[in-house]
């Protein structure tokens, strides 16, 4: 069994998530070969074969060109699996490759069981076990689900790949940097975050009061930020900030995967939610089952005593 692992590279850097692909392939027990559309200076620490396409020529992520490069490499290697991280890069590119190969695709894998793939459903409240029916399959793995143990070593054997002029329909113009952070949540020892479960904008102040009582900062989930209740610089999760405070209090947060990815490494997690089955309970040290707008003021008052 062989896996072609497609590295992710952005603005001159190989992304660390590349090593999660290696961990996943090890979990499968597959032989590994990698493709990097990047630069020689940034080849992964890996003692196998790496196909390298120069980003100086192919540029930052471009769906049509990257698809051609993956397909050309797949043609040389005949992998059983072509694997990406389920990121804005991987989920965009993988189906294009799958369509061209008429291959099955399984998205956002979090586990392997009986040679089949486990994926989340319904906001992580359920799981599905899927099996590809085609000989070749395209897979994306959830970011953070497979972690590489120890430090990766090895110098790859590099083989350059070139494309004979391939038209690209999508033109890359440039990057827009993240908004300047008004608050650096990464430094906070305590973060108290508000989720959609707080009900309305006026209730944000109640959550902020608890944050103050604990000497911490206010955080928020994406829906709360999108609704304009809290500014973007306080967003915790894969599209906001990743945080590791000593105490994280999740108020009215059901626990979308993208949010959990940004806070699960906190030292101690308290979740306050009326739904006992909310996925946030899976990462919480303590789950308080209560109406958040009743419990939070009581807790704040207790702390101020």
């Amino acid at each position: 069994m062989k896996a072609l692992l497609v590295c992710e590279y952005q603005q001159g850097k190989l992304l660390e998530s590349t090593y999660e692909l290696l961990a996943f392939a090890d979990r499968l027990g597959a032989d590994k070969v990698m493709l990097l559309i990047g630069s020689e200076a940034e080849v992964p620490n890996f003692g196998g074969k790496v196909y390298l396409a120069d980003t100086g020529k192919y540029g930052e992520y471009n769906p049509d060109l990257h698809k051609r490069l993956v397909l050309d490499t797949a043609q040389k290697e005949h992998p059983d699996y072509i694997v990406f991280v389920h990121s804005s890069f991987g989920w965009d590119l993988a189906p294009r490759v799958a369509a061209a190969l008429k291959a099955a695709q399984v998205s956002e894998i979090i586990g392997v069981a009986e040679g089949k793939f486990e994926v989340p459903a319904c906001n992580a409240k359920l799981r599905r076990l899927l099996a590809p029916k085609t000989a070749q399959a395209v897979l994306t793995i959830q970011a953070g689900a497979f972690s590489y143990q120890g430090e990766a070593r090895g110098t790859p054997q590099v083989e350059r790949v070139e494309l004979a002029g391939s038209p690209a329909r999508v033109e890359f113009i440039g990057y827009e940097a993240a908004e300047k952070k008004a608050v650096d949540l990464a430094k906070a020892e305590v973060i108290v975050s508000a989720g959609r479960g707080i009900g309305k904008k006026e209730n944000v102040e109640t959550i902020a009061a608890l944050a103050r009582a604990l000497g911490g900062e206010l955080g928020a989930t994406r829906p709360v930020v999108d609704a304009g209740w809290v500014e973007h610089s306080r967003q915790v999760g894969s599209s906001g900030q990743s945080v590791t405070p000593k105490l994280y209090v999740a108020c009215g947060i059901s626990g979308a995967i993208q949010h959990i990815a940004g806070m699960k490494k906190s030292t101690f997690i308290v979740a306050i939610n009326k739904d006992k089955d909310a996925p946030i309970g899976e990462v919480a040290n303590i789950l308080v089952v209560a109406d958040v707008m009743q419990f939070v003021p009581a807790l704040t008052a207790r702390l101020q005593k």
Binding site: S107, L126, R169, S242, A284, N285, L287
Partner: protein, 258 residues
Amino acid sequence: MKMLVCIKQVPDMESRFRLNSEGVWYDEQDLAFRMNEYDEYAVEQAIRVKEQLGGAADIMILSIGPARVVEAIKKGLAMGSDRGVHIQDDHIYQKDPWQVASVIAAFARDKNFDLVFTGLQSQDRGSAQVGILVAELLGYACATTLVGFELSGDVVTARRELEAGIRAIIKFKLPAVVTCQLGLNNPRYPTLPNIMKARQKELLAFPIMDFLSEEGTTTTERMYPPEKKGHGLVLEGDIQETADKLVAILKEKTTVLR
């Protein structure tokens, strides 16, 4: 300008889910269904394009599924779309993303849509595949995860959301398929007069077999709830007592309280 918006109807994610008798999907009984959240941004963006063009556009809403999905189509019409198409299938949950995309592409193939909008992913299955597969099948340009969309002539300048707040600015020509990320715009609420008007709008229905010719490429072995890790302590009951207990635990287990 001809636009197609592909929407899915999904259960409220706050629901308590039970499995169906086959054990491969959730039981739909007692669930409240609504338009997939990502698709609301897709509908809104299509309407904004029509407004930008002074109304010189036609927006068709398409959804595949059992009779209940007509409610989601009607919401799209009440938001301001022009016509609806219901592709009827009581067993849509048994179709994989490849089949769903092939049905949409078969429907759209001879209709010359300039722009196809859909959500980044569905809230229940979340494969994030269908929009891209439709584009590949139709030979259209495709951009995903959009948080910015500007149309000028037949050129779209879009912002893709990457990770950690970074965005990529890209440009492409129509025809194209785009998938919408949360926060792309502010989806409007249908007003009562528009809900009334929507009742008069065209709503066509076709059986899925008119468009389905592909076999699935994946099999669902089973669906199941995640194993309860049971690490966490659950506190419930009287609010004051629970607050006292929580403070005591925080004092013992963390260093943030004196």
